[in-house]
């Protein structure tokens, strides 16, 4: 009886079997890979804004403190956005005619708020409180990165649960002196100093990782 298949089919079928296994695994990998990619976490993706505001210029250039604009960061859960009025405190004096700033002037004139595109966002079931983090000496740079080097602001870390947990499960290392929270450049400390400070701070604040990584700390 005539053969139905050429001998080469054997090889193909073997390849196919092996291949399908690989493909299957690949598919299962794809999900996590996508979820962990910066495509998902938006890390390093500069966001365009109605006004091309440069943190680089204002922070490292002019040396403005974060709290000048994000005024409620020490007192409230929300860091707070600068009102148009705040922008105009300076820009009614300098760059008054700049076309770049037209939207700002227009906003003040019309009373219509500037619509900034969010860079650091959390889902609505996550309750992050700036106040307590600042109070414990967690520097802005820990989460928001070197904004002093960002002409256009981009997310420096994935604002995902793993990122929060990494710190909450090992908080000590992230703590710095409270008067240095807005400092952008790394502290001029050696490893030992870091260690000493971390331990002291952890003791001082009774930090308990076993407590800090419990759901109710962030979810209500």
């Amino acid at each position: 009886m005539a053969q139905i298949f050429k001998p080469s089919v054997d090889t193909f079928s073997r390849l196919f079997l092996a291949g399908s296994v690989v493909v299957l695994i690949g598919v299962f990998m794809l999900g996590p890979v996508a979820a962990w990619s910066s495509y998902q976490s938006k890390v390093g993706w500069a966001v365009d804004q109605p006004v091309p505001f440069s943190h680089k210029h204002h922070v490292s250039g002019l040396g403005l403190d974060c709290r000048f604009c994000h005024a409620t960061v020490e007192t409230s859960a929300h860091a707070g956005f600068p009102s148009t009025h705040v922008c105009m405190t300076c820009h009614s004096q300098i760059w008054t005619g700049s076309p770049m700033l037209a939207p700002v002037r227009q906003s003040l004139a019309s009373g219509r708020p500037l619509a900034w595109n969010r860079v650091s966002k959390l889902p609505d079931f996550v309750f992050f409180n700036h106040k307590i983090h600042i109070d414990r000496g967690v520097a802005c740079v820990e989460c928001h990165g070197r904004v002093d080097q960002m002409p256009m602001l981009a997310r420096a870390h994935p604002f995902e649960m793993r990122f929060c947990l990494d710190c909450h499960r090992d908080p000590a290392g992230r703590l710095g002196p409270t008067d240095q929270v807005t400092r952008m450049s790394p502290l001029p400390w050696d490893e030992a100093t870091h260690q000493r400070f971390a331990l002291a701070a952890a003791r001082r604040y009774h930090l308990d990782p076993a407590r800090l990584d419990k759901c109710d700390i962030c979810h209500r």
């Binding site: 009886m1 139905i4 298949f5 089919v9 054997d10 079928s13 999900g31 996590p32 979820a35 962990w36 998902q40 976490s41 994935p158 995902e160 649960m161 793993r162 947990l165």
Partner: protein, 444 residues
């Protein structure tokens, strides 16, 4: 010589009867009738699921306190049915009971379809089905793992394992027959089709040797699953502090009940196929007799489970007793008595050989058992929840239209692949039947 000749002829007959089935299917019109019916049910399933997903579980009858309803009832029921397949093939293979050979193939196919239905239910049952994969342990950006104390987490593993193993076991078993189907096929299309799925089986000695090893090993893996899976499912209930659930008898009780319902359904299918396709020579009255015995045995054990439950309640008193009372004469007493009557009264006929050997009687008994076991699942889920502890949270449960339509739709999920299997694959294990005949012949 003459013997060998005779034997060869018998083989050919067997070959024709089984392997040629797909190639020259006898009951085409009947099959199409069934198949279109099954397709209609499948369509109903899709409608029900779309309705469910677009509105949420609210379309069902579930409430607080009865927040588990048809979904869980049918989940347990389908999974139970599935058990017989594995039990028949694997356990009887290992214990070398040859009469299984005409039954095991479609029993396994039935298992597969049932497990698929069972597997779908818990997912549809979820409030947010699109996150069902959170029950699986995988590296996620949330750094959260499933909760391994929960019986549901283990349900997930149990059902998945069960599905994979039975699939493998079934395919392994059917492999030689696919090959012979390929060889007997006349049309090119069938040759290619069977050629591909028979993975180049040539039936030389080494193939057979490896095949037997693999088959035996898989069977050995499958057997413990029969016990473990349904024991595990039973924990879904007995782990909760709910009167009527929180009982140690549950694991064996569930496994036996599962086998019981499973044998019944195998009986139904065997008799149906026997009538639809000319298989009387292969699925003989002896097979039905055996099935009847198995059903009777597991049935009586299940009955024992009922007794021990009642005893527990009487012994425990308090809430347990109250629940028993609710079951016997409460709002849902019909489900309890329905289960008791349908499961055990007709069953008693099977003590007599001649009833076991009468397809009609066996069919009737099997049907009543299948229904009865469904009622038992209903009774288990609903009567425990609708009046559990606090008087203030007593409630009622009434399945909605969409509960029923989904159940009917699951029939489609079950039948469509099964009918395709009957139509296009050798539904009975030719090779093993030949073995059997061979052995009998040589034993003289």
């Amino acid at each position: 010589m003459a013997e060998e000749e005779a034997l060869r002829q018998v083989y050919d007959i067997v070959g024709e009867e089984i392997v040629d089935l797909p190639l020259a299917f006898p009951a085409r019109r009947g099959w199409w009738l069934c198949f279109s019916g099954a397709l209609a049910l499948l369509a109903l399933w899709f409608v029900s699921v779309i309705v469910l997903f677009s509105n949420g579980v609210a379309v069902w009858g579930n409430t607080i306190p009865v927040n588990w309803g048809m979904a869980i009832i049918n989940y347990v029921w389908f999974l139970g049915i599935g058990h017989a397949g594995t039990l028949i093939s694997a356990l009887l293979l290992i214990s070398d009971r040859n009469w299984r050979n005409s039954l095991n193939r479609f029993a396994e196919a039935m298992t597969l379809c049932a497990v698929v239905c069972a597997g779908l239910y818990p997912i549809l049952h979820l409030g947010r089905p699109w996150f069902f994969y959170w029950i699986a342990p995988y590296f996620n950006s949330m750094h959260v793992w499933p909760q391994f104390k929960s019986p549901l987490t283990w349900d997930f593993f149990a059902v998945l394992t069960y599905l994979i193993v039975s699939l493998f076991f079934w395919y392994l078993g059917i492999l030689p027959d696919l090959a012979s189907a390929r060889d007997r096929a006349k049309s090119r299309g069938y040759q290619v089709f069977f050629g591909i799925i028979s993975l180049g089986w040539r039936g030389d000695a080494s193939h057979w040797a490896r095949w037997r090893q693999a088959y035996a090993i898989t069977a050995a893996i499958a057997v413990p699953l029969v016990v473990s899976v349904h024991s595990e499912i039973s924990l879904l209930f007995s782990a909760g502090p709910i009167p009527g659930w929180n009982s140690t008898v549950f694991p064996p009780y569930f496994v036996l009940g599962a086998a019981f319902s499973g044998f019944a359904v195998v009986g139904i299918i065997a008799i149906a196929m026997r009538a639809a396709l000319p298989l009387q020579a292969l699925v003989t009255l002896r097979h039905l007799d055996m099935l009847g015995l198995a059903t009777l045995a597991t049935g009586m054990m299940t009955a024992y489970g009922y007794f021990s439950e009642v005893f527990d309640a009487l012994y425990a008193g308090g809430q347990e007793l109250a629940t028993l009372n609710d079951r016997l004469c409460g709002h849902y007493a019909w489900s309890y008595w329905g289960a008791v009557i349908l499961n055990f009264i007709p069953l008693q006929l099977l003590w007599w050989r001649r009833y076991r050997r009468s397809p009609r009687i066996l069919l009737a008994v099997s049907l009543s058992v299948a229904v009865g076991m469904w009622m038992e699942r209903f009774m288990l889920v609903v009567t425990s929840l609708y009046r559990d502890w606090l008087v203030s949270s007593y409630g009622h449960y009434m399945p909605s239209f969409w509960d029923w339509s989904l159940f009917a739709g699951m029939g489609g999920i079950f039948l469509v692949p099964f009918l395709l299997f009957v139509r296009f694959l050798p539904a009975i294990s030719a090779s093993e039947t030949k073995d059997e005949i061979h052995e009998e012949a040589t034993d003289g």
